[in-house]
């Protein structure tokens, strides 16, 4: 027994050191992260959390998320996406060299920028949009005022700034976005403290390294098969179609929002919009990407009635003169008209290529409208 005990303890110690190193030294950790095989097209963040094979996305599922090919549009596209990993010589490289700045969280990840083609009767105007979040200029969800001050952005010609935020974080960020200055000076110190004391990567590395992953996958599948137990970060799931719902999103939707908070959020976004205009000559376009649960709650809870958070806050912002893109309404319109394809990946919190296509088309629509207004 003693030999067994000491051997087990030694292995545990070595494994703990491995997890610590992998969780703290990211390049080291990356070398040992479990990689999904090619046939698993897009595993999805929620699948990665629960690791239940029933929810793994297949090629067929992926096809259900692609927009239909429109022959007319493909010959005369409204926008072109620069993907983060691809190198386009004419992709905007920085904030100054672009016409539109994009600040966002994970929905815009992977998109380095956009080229927007605006039909102007006689010709086509091309505007370049640069995603500051994709290049690490802005942290995900960072306040643009804080970021622009940090990179010493200089006021120049008129530009647009698309601020994208996911619904579940929007209220929190909206309530804090007027206090941006007090976080700024402590940034480096805060990052150092975060690196030392916040150990989120340790848990991630533990569950997703090449040693634990197969074992956890087996355990999670067995638990789901026999007890219907699923990772607690998955609040709800549907089996027809197979779809996972993130707990933060469901909690956010089900939490009543105080009218004072909505007022405060609208006031703060208006403040942000005014500051951007005054300090940098930038026009803010604010967009909240709906939680998957806001769009597809009928798959899991048909009785649930959406609290209209996005339309409500958008109306308050419009009243204050802030430009918004109302993606919630666009998605619901798509669902009521067609609904043959999915707007969100079934095993992820993010929108599908179809959802993205609708979002970017809306950007083009709003930019076209605003561009004409400013030209006039």
């Amino acid at each position: 027994m003693k030999i067994l005990f000491f051997t087990t303890w030694a292995l545990l110690f070595l494994y703990s050191v491995f997890i610590l190193l992998g969780g703290k030294i990211i390049p080291f950790g990356r070398m040992f992260i479990y990689e999904y095989k090619d046939e698993e097209v897009y595993p999805g963040g929620l699948y990665a959390m629960c690791k239940i094979d029933e929810f793994k996305q297949t090629e067929t599922d992926y096809e259900k998320c692609r927009p239909d090919k429109n022959e007319e549009l493909s010959s005369r596209p409204r926008f072109q996406i620069y993907e983060q990993r691809q190198s386009y010589s004419d992709a905007p490289k920085d904030l100054e060299g672009s016409d539109i700045l994009m600040f966002g969280d994970s929905f815009l990840a992977g998109v380095r920028g956009l080229k927007i083609f605006i039909d102007k009767g006689g010709g086509v105007d091309t505007l370049k949009a640069y995603n500051a979040s994709a290049d690490g200029i802005a942290a995900a969800g960072e306040n643009p005022l804080e970021c622009l001050a940090r990179v010493k952005y200089q006021k120049g010609g008129k530009k647009f700034l698309i601020l994208e935020t996911v619904e579940r974080s929007s209220l929190d960020r909206g309530l804090r976005c007027a206090d941006y200055q007090k976080y700024f000076d402590l940034k480096i110190f805060q990052q150092a403290i975060k690196y030392i004391f916040i150990n989120d990567h340790i848990a991630y590395f533990f569950t997703d390294n090449i040693i634990s992953h197969p074992l956890l996958r087996f355990i999670n599948n067995t638990k789901f098969h026999y007890f219907k137990d699923i990772d607690t970060r998955i609040a709800l799931y549907s089996e027809n179609p197979n779809m996972l719902f993130y707990f933060q999103a469901v909690e956010f939707n089900k939490t009543p929002k105080a009218a004072e908070d909505l007022d405060m959020m609208a006031r703060n976004i208006k403040f942000l919009s005014d500051q951007l205009e005054r300090e940098y000559n930038i026009v803010l376009i604010y967009v909240i990407l709906p939680n998957k649960y806001s769009i597809y709650s009928d798959f899991v809870e048909p009785d649930y009635v959406y609290d209209n958070f996005i339309p409500d806050i958008n109306n308050r912002l419009i009243e204050k003169g802030v430009k918004v893109i109302n993606i919630y309404t666009e998605y619901m319109t798509y669902r009521s008209n067609d609904d043959s394809k999915l707007l969100y990946f079934p095993s992820d919190t993010h929108y599908s290529p179809l959802g993205q296509d609708i979002f970017f088309n809306e950007i083009v629509g709003v930019i076209t409208e605003l561009n004409c207004t400013f030209d006039d």
Partner: protein, 485 residues
Amino acid sequence: MLFNSIEFLVFFVIAVTLYFFIPHRFRWLFLLLASYYFYMCWNPVYIVLLLISTLIDYFAGLMMAKTGEKKRRRKYLIISLCSNLGLLFAFKYFNFFNGAFKVLLGTLNITYNIGALQVLLPVGISFYTFQTMSYALDVYRGEKKPERHFGIFALYVSFFPQLVAGPIERSTRLLPQFYNKIKFNYERTTDGLLLMLWGFFKKVVIADRVAAMVDQVYNNVYEYQGLTLIIATLLFAFQIYCDFSGYSDIAIGAARIMGFDLMTNFRTPYYAKSISEFWKRWHISLTSWFKDYLYISLGGNRVVKWRWYYNIMIVFVISGFWHGANWTFIIWGALNGFYLLFSIWTAGLREKIARFFHLDKLPDLRTIIKALITFALVCFAWIFFRANSLTEAFYVITHLFTGILSQETLAFVFSGLGFGVRGFLIALAAICLMETIQLVQQRRSIKEILEKKPAALRLAVYVGLIVCIIMLGKFSANQFIYFQF
């Protein structure tokens, strides 16, 4: 850093291994750094509060020992108590009093504009504050010589296994242990590991599994009535017991592996045959703290009757208030105090009733009835502890028997309170298993039973327990309930 998190397991395995390789003279420093790191993983800034509390009591202890004059000793004690209680007041109770004051002045039409403090409650503040206060009181009373080694004293305040939720250790017990030369001991280590595993079982298999069901009902109480409320309250009784005693087991086991003995915090409280016995079995380190430093200081039971009753009520109300700055906790404490007084007043009457029903001739049956009544009373008091507000607590109480067996209620209960029958049955089976083991443990130590079994069988038990935890546990990184206190 939560005990039921991967980061704690990684931290613990590395810390314990290094601990035994470090020479004895440096171990205090290693444990101190590990403890501070453990605390700072929750919120680095609040380490300052821990340091303030440590510094004040360290110097107060030294100053009290330096002077023989009682008046001056008292002065230093008051400085220590006021500073500790001041911190506790500012971070835990200010908003409660501020709110109550605002309501009071509002009724008198007086404008009061002091806003609420926007601060996070520092984890474990009630625990380490009471631990350091016990040190200052012991030194003042002359029961303990002041600790001169600042590092050892700081370690006593911050020792990571019991820093955030106890057991609240006395300086007389814990401080001398830091000077012991501890060598690795195989039996002690396996004993500690088994206790930790048992704690994890209680926490992740029972408490966290049941928590979702209890939260579903208690966070939406107005949607439920009858049997649903009764079952949710019973489940909460097991949730809080498994959550807190599970934490204590992990803490005691972790300390034992490193060679430290922490005090027992729970002794199967739901087997208590009276309320007074329940309080001798539940959160023993806090109950004994209140007994030694408050109840006895007030005169205990060596006073006139009305004063004795007053002492009991005061201790229970303050004990309730210690748990949280909310009227629900105050009422919970007061209710327990009332139970105790009522049991004192009706002792003779209850004896007569027992004789009338010939229960005195059936001692086992009488024991079972007493334990069931005590459990029912405790569960009733838990309603106040768990409810989000007094209004909700009163709603639960007034609707416990409304439509108790209605079709809708039964359907909801049989759906596992909305979480599926399988999950509900697993929770019930785990509770039954725990109770069976505790029942056996009352007569004979499980450890002793296991020690006499063949190695293969022992190994099977250990592996079985680990498999049970992994396969049936809910790994939601749920906080321990007592962290909020």
